[in-house]
């Protein structure tokens, strides 16, 4: 056991030294991992963008910008995808807080015509086995190639055209809402042929 007496000075010195050493080494590790962490985060976004838009040659993450939603309450991140300097589509990071538990975050890829290329789920806290099925292609493919301007994105129970996930109407509804918001926000900046 400890051989040093618990005098006030000893306590002070020991704690100071320990916290100092711990703090310094943490600072070092932080510096060391700063770049890999930033890279990992960028790669995560790039992977999501790659999944929803194909054929670009720029880095959409470095060119990202924010656009306010039509109701002005929020703003979404837009990642422009370009091939040979020409815009071919935009990946929109969108979310809905109407899920079963917590926010649902999606990446929606639009062509310049406003068609959905593909949607991927970035983050959700829905019930495993029910709401979590929103990441399955069976559900996602319903949105593939559709234009929210021409198709009612709501679930069938609400009079739309989307087949809800069995047992997870609320999650499906939130998903559709997030896509709809992404589209409406997209429309505020894009007035291409539609």
């Amino acid at each position: 056991m400890a051989t040093i007496k618990s005098s006030f000075l000893n306590l002070l010195v020991t704690l100071t030294v320990i916290t100092l050493v711990a703090g310094l080494s943490l600072g070092y590790v932080f510096q060391w991992t700063k770049e890999p962490i930033a890279k990992a985060q960028m790669e995560k976004q790039l992977r999501a963008i790659e999944a929803v838009i194909q054929g670009y040659d720029n880095n959409p993450v470095t060119e990202k910008y924010k656009v306010a939603t039509p109701d002005g309450k929020d703003s979404l991140e837009f990642f422009p995808a370009k091939a040979k300097g020409e815009m071919i589509g935009i990946a929109v990071k969108t979310k809905s807080s109407k899920g079963y538990s917590g926010d649902i975050r999606l990446m929606v890829g639009f062509t310049m015509k406003g068609d959905i290329e593909q949607v991927v789920v970035i983050e959700h806290k829905e019930t495993p086995g029910l709401g979590s099925k929103m990441s399955d292609l069976k559900f996602l493919n319903q949105y593939y190639g559709k234009n929210p301007g021409q198709m009612n994105m709501k679930v069938k129970k609400d009079g739309g055209e989307v087949d809800a996930i069995t047992g997870a109407t609320i999650s499906s509804r939130a998903f559709s809402e997030a896509v709809q918001v992404a589209y409406e926000t997209f429309q505020t900046v894009n007035h291409g042929p539609n």
């Binding site: 400890a2 990992a40 086995g129 029910l130």
Partner: protein
């Protein structure tokens, strides 16, 4: 403490004094993150790393720390290593880091880490502390991976992400109640086997 061999020192953490199944320490991450085998393994390895490193450092500095500030000093050392693990995981295994989420920083308050520091590292040499930490770490990892594997197998009919049958499993095993039920049964089976060994019929 009676002197024990290095091999015994290492092996005790795996079965005889398994932190989860026998000592029942560190149950928060055990129940919280083991919804799949990979999660259990990742959490186990992260905790094992912290255990070994903090055991090592604490056994080295045990003689210069006054008794009165023993616990705060240990916590600072443990917390520093946990932060290191968290930064490393965010950098090199971002997906796993996101899966485990809050449970990585919570290793700080995992009883098994402070428990070994207080019960073992603060009164043993550096080498035996490392061995103790390794044994406990492996035992913890084994327990979490086993629990994760059982829950994944029953809950989503897959193992380490590999799906056997394309159907839905028993969802309850992925949810919190499944963690309690599975852990209860593992402990019951272990006790049953122990009792059987002790009283041969």
């Amino acid at each position: 403490m009676a002197p024990i061999s290095r091999k015994e020192n290492f092996l005790k953490g795996i079965i005889k004094e398994n932190p989860v199944f026998v000592i029942l320490l560190g149950l928060c991450p055990t129940l919280g993150v083991t919804s799949s085998a990979v999660n259990g393994l990742g959490m186990g390895v992260a905790t094992a790393f912290v255990l070994v490193m903090s055991n090592l450092v604490i056994s080295l500095v045990k003689n210069v720390i006054p008794d009165k500030v023993r616990i705060p000093s240990f916590i600072v050392i443990i917390a520093a290593f946990v932060t290191v693990v968290q930064l490393l995981m965010a950098a090199y295994t971002p997906a796993l880091n996101e899966q485990l989420g809050l449970f990585i920083p919570l290793i700080v308050v995992n009883c098994i880490v402070l428990g070994r520091a207080e019960a073992f590292a603060s009164r043993n040499t550096a080498l035996s502390s490392i061995i103790d930490g390794l044994g406990m770490g492996v035992g913890f990892t084994f327990a979490l991976t086993l629990l994760g594997a059982i829950r994944e197998l029953l809950g989503s009919l897959s193992l380490f992400g590999y799906k056997f049958i394309d159907a839905d499993g028993m969802l309850v095993f992925i949810l919190a109640p499944g963690a309690f039920i599975s852990l209860g049964f593992i402990i019951a089976i272990m006790n049953w086997m122990k009792n059987r060994k002790r009283s041969p019929h």
